[in-house]
């Protein structure tokens, strides 16, 4: 091994390792705040808890400039296609943190109007429990995501996102064929996935 003779003068690495190192330390969060978790998120971003310590201080309110979707709150069935559209419009590679029990599982809202977990409509990477979770819990979730990014293969992430785009195409076809609105199409896809046992539509 030639690099052994060079001692500390040269550092060698794998391409995916250095790319993932860059990705995990430069996350650009997009807050999708629909409930009280968004209030805790403000605390997480501001000086006391300071999420920018993890390289994620550049908060953006446009999906074009962000690659970390933070879903902060209850997602209703009507909101589900909006969430899917926002996630589709984000820059790649992209990750999703589901913050709080409402986003993760519907939480206390076990009703016909609420989506029982956003992982039915978008791919979620980390679930943060709590109602609402404390800022420390959210930061722990973000650190878990960083661990996940460190370990993942570049191709796997790409395929993961492509599977979502394919589901968007299926949704568009369903809308066109049956003349449905976006939320009707997503609702029927979610119900069908629930009957077949797949539970998720992407």
């Amino acid at each position: 091994m030639a690099e052994l003779n060079l001692d500390d003068a040269v550092v060698t690495t794998r391409l995916d390792a250095i790319i993932n190192w860059g990705r995990k330390n430069s996350m650009w969060p997009l807050p999708f705040g629909t409930a009280c978790c968004a209030i805790e998120f403000m605390s997480m971003m501001s000086s006391k808890y300071d999420f920018s310590r993890f390289g994620a201080e550049a908060l953006r309110f446009s999906p074009r400039q962000s690659d970390l979707l933070l879903v902060l709150g209850t997602i209703t069935n009507k909101q589900a296609p909006v969430l899917r559209q926002i996630y589709a419009q984000m820059a790649e590679p992209k990750w999703v943190i589901s913050v709080g029990v409402c986003a993760s599982s519907g939480g206390m809202y076990r009703t016909y109007a609420t989506l029982q977990g956003i992982d039915r409509v978008v791919p979620v990477d980390v679930y943060v429990p709590g109602c609402p979770p404390r800022p420390e819990t959210m930061i722990y979730g973000a650190m878990k995501l960083q661990e996940k990014i460190t370990a993942e293969a570049l191709k796997a992430r790409k395929d993961h996102i492509q599977a979502f785009y394919d589901s968007m195409d299926r949704q568009r076809d369903l809308e066109a064929e049956q003349g449905l609105t976006a939320h009707q199409a997503v609702r029927s896809m979610v119900l069908e996935a629930g009957q077949t046992g797949a539970q998720r539509i992407w």
Binding site: V82, Q85, E92, Y165, M168
Partner: protein, 139 residues
């Protein structure tokens, strides 16, 4: 003829612009280098490095995740809106003058007369506007 150490000085004395030839070469080289850096960092490197995955849904216009309300935002508005806005500003200024005057008013006949003249001037304008039909929305 004075003997000089180098022969290259000879033509330089004859042509006063010639000593600046290296400056011109340096300038051109700097422009070329600058142009290359801008091209490479703005066009070539992003093309080589950025993840590129165009998708139909990703490229749709961003409107908070909902379908577009209208395809084209450039619409024509009725000129009446402009007229009403200008008239509003005129009479808004009148109200802005009247209010502090009314607060400070202490049965002073001179100041009353001045304000009366001001309001009368505006009244003439109001009658003119009314007569021209600027206040009628439907024509």
């Amino acid at each position: 003829m004075i003997q000089t150490g180098t022969a290259s000085l000879e033509p330089a004395m004859s042509n006063p612009v010639a000593p600046f030839l290296p400056v011109l070469i340096l300038l051109l080289a700097a422009l070329a280098m600058g142009g290359f850096i801008v091209w490479a960092s703005g066009w070539l490197l992003p093309r080589l490095l950025k993840p590129r995955n165009p998708q139909a849904h990703k490229l749709t216009p961003y409107e908070c995740g909902v379908p577009l309300f209208q395809q084209d935002a450039r619409r024509r508005y009725n000129i009446q809106f402009y007229l009403v806005a200008v008239l509003f500003i005129l009479f808004d200024v009148e109200a802005a003058f009247l209010l502090p005057w009314a607060v400070q008013f202490k049965s002073n006949l001179a100041s009353f007369g001045v304000m009366l003249a001001f309001v009368a001037t505006l009244l003439v304008g109001y009658v003119y506007v009314w007569g021209k039909g600027a206040l009628e929305w439907e024509r």
